[in-house]
Amino acid sequence: MTEFVTLREAVAGLIHDGDCVAMEGFTHLIPSAAGHEVIRQGRKDLYLVRMTPDLIYDQLIGSGCVSRLRFSWGGNPGVGSLHRLRDAVERGWPGPLALEEHSHADMANAYVAGAANLPFSVLRGYQGSDLPRHNTNIRFIRCPFTDEELAVSPAIRPDVTVIHAQKADRRGNVLLWGILGVQKEAAMAAKRVIVTVEEIVDSLDAPPNACILPRVVVNAVCLQPGGAFPSYAHGYYARDNRYYIAWDDIARDRETFKALMQKHVHNTADFNEFRRVLAESAGAAA
């Protein structure tokens, strides 16, 4: 049954050290507030999964929360590199990071397989690519009907999937729209699901085929307006591109990064306070 709790309570109760965690979002509805809260609570040894690791995974990696990453594209979307991810891979800072690298098509299929409770995904892919040489979890099988060679990889079964959505109703059903990415599949594949939302409403007022996560798959709903900042929430606010560009400079330098995480995450009680601190420093700089 869905619980309506604070993000602090949801992370404390549902995300544990060593868990496999997917915080999904395809440049839209990125669960940034949840990423901050995981850092704030000092989770360790996480096995993170995501198709497109971006700023929040950069923050989690740089903060030493992550030991392993399964992904298919890691970058600052529209800007460039993730410098904390690169520092971990290239120089092992703040600790070694094991990479399990796939393609988008494979990751999407692996979430679908996880949601369908299958052990692996199948796709026509990776032909001629070096990726299978460096990732022993990409293997090939023969189709028993046609003998065609097909790629397979283990289904993604997160302990916890975290997503951000536009709305939940008071019973815990969750509605999201716009670019959907793999959020529904990631939620259906997970043992536990946390959803942060822009608002909680009496009725979702959605057409019959809208993308709704029924409450039986949602463990916790946390009201967190603005929780996808600096990404966007379709119908609510636009991407703050200045933050993405600023992140490039912040993340380049270990000390700058650490100081900023101290000020914006560890020294703040929650995401709302982070937004206030950020607005104050932007006001001071202007």
């Binding site: 891979v89 290239e90 988008h104 098509a105 990776y126 070096d130 460096h134 670019i179 990415g181 636009a238």
Partner: protein, 261 residues
């Protein structure tokens, strides 16, 4: 009108996209070229972005692969697994439009690492959708700025297959699509040789010399016997491209817009 090498690259790439085709678009240079095509000779092109939009008609270039502008202007937005399963693997994509960090003489692409995989000198973002776009799209167009650092004799890592070791290797491996059919750069246009599949310069942009192309290529690059000159961008093409980039800059507050993935 006078024009820059970046502009002729974008225009020359846009011209290769047939009207009425279904195009799987990478972010950055491919997205700029594909939208220029849509706004000039190819109004009926269907642009697919891997985040889910099908038939996107953005008024300004997206900052990222999942901008709201793409969703709002698309015929429909489907979940990302559908894009890869039903559309790309389903055989519904005519043209895959890709950029790259490194490319070799058989148009194989590296977007993974510079240096050894386990101890990389530079960790690049990774594969994204490219390996399956490169194998499953009916044909592939590649747009990339040409330097000796990006056009290399040997890739550090093959992320996405072009023509692999050349010849008929794609057919032997039963890759569904025919692979890269053109590489459009800021200096020239290359196409794979019909037999060996080695990239061959078929057209130089106006004012560009063979020596410049040779110097910007990490292997002894071949030139076609019937080497042509890329037709200059028309005034209309330049006006549409510049207006698109100006709208984009105004909307995003960044010059040009439509940057990296």
């Amino acid at each position: 009108m006078s024009y820059t090498t970046n502009e002729i690259m974008t225009v020359a790439a846009a011209r290769r996209l047939p009207d009425g085709s279904v195009c799987f678009v990478g972010i950055g240079l491919p997205s700029t070229a594909a939208n220029l095509a849509r706004l000039t000779h190819a109004p009926d092109v269907t642009l697919i972005y891997e985040s889910g939009p099908i038939g996107a008609r953005p008024d300004v270039l997206p900052l990222s692969i999942g901008d709201g502008e793409l969703a709002e202007t698309a015929d429909t937005v489907v979940p990302t697994p559908e894009i890869f399963r039903y559309w790309l693997q389903g055989g519904r994509v005519d043209v895959g439009f890709l950029g790259t960090a490194q490319i070799d003489r058989f148009a194989n692409l590296n977007t993974t690492v510079i240096g050894p995989y386990d101890k990389p000198k530079v960790r690049l973002p990774g594969a994204g959708g490219a390996p399956e776009i490169a194998s499953n799209a009916r044909e592939v167009l590649i747009i990339v700025k040409q330097t000796a650092r990006s056009f290399v004799a040997k890739l550090d890592f093959v992320t996405s297959a072009g023509h692999l070791d050349g010849g008929d290797v794609r057919a032997r491996l039963k890759l569904p699509g025919k692979g890269p059919v053109a590489v459009i750069t800021d200096l020239c246009i290359m196409e794979p040789d019909p037999v060996t599949r080695e990239l061959t310069v078929v057209s130089l942009h106006e004012g560009i010399t063979r020596e410049q192309v040779t110097a910007a290529t990490g292997w002894p690059v071949r030139f076609a016997d019937s080497l042509g000159t890329t037709p200059a961008p028309t005034d209309h093409e330049l006006q549409v491209l510049r207006a698109l980039q100006q709208r984009t800059a105004l909307a995003h507050g960044t010059a040009g817009g439509g940057g990296g993935d």
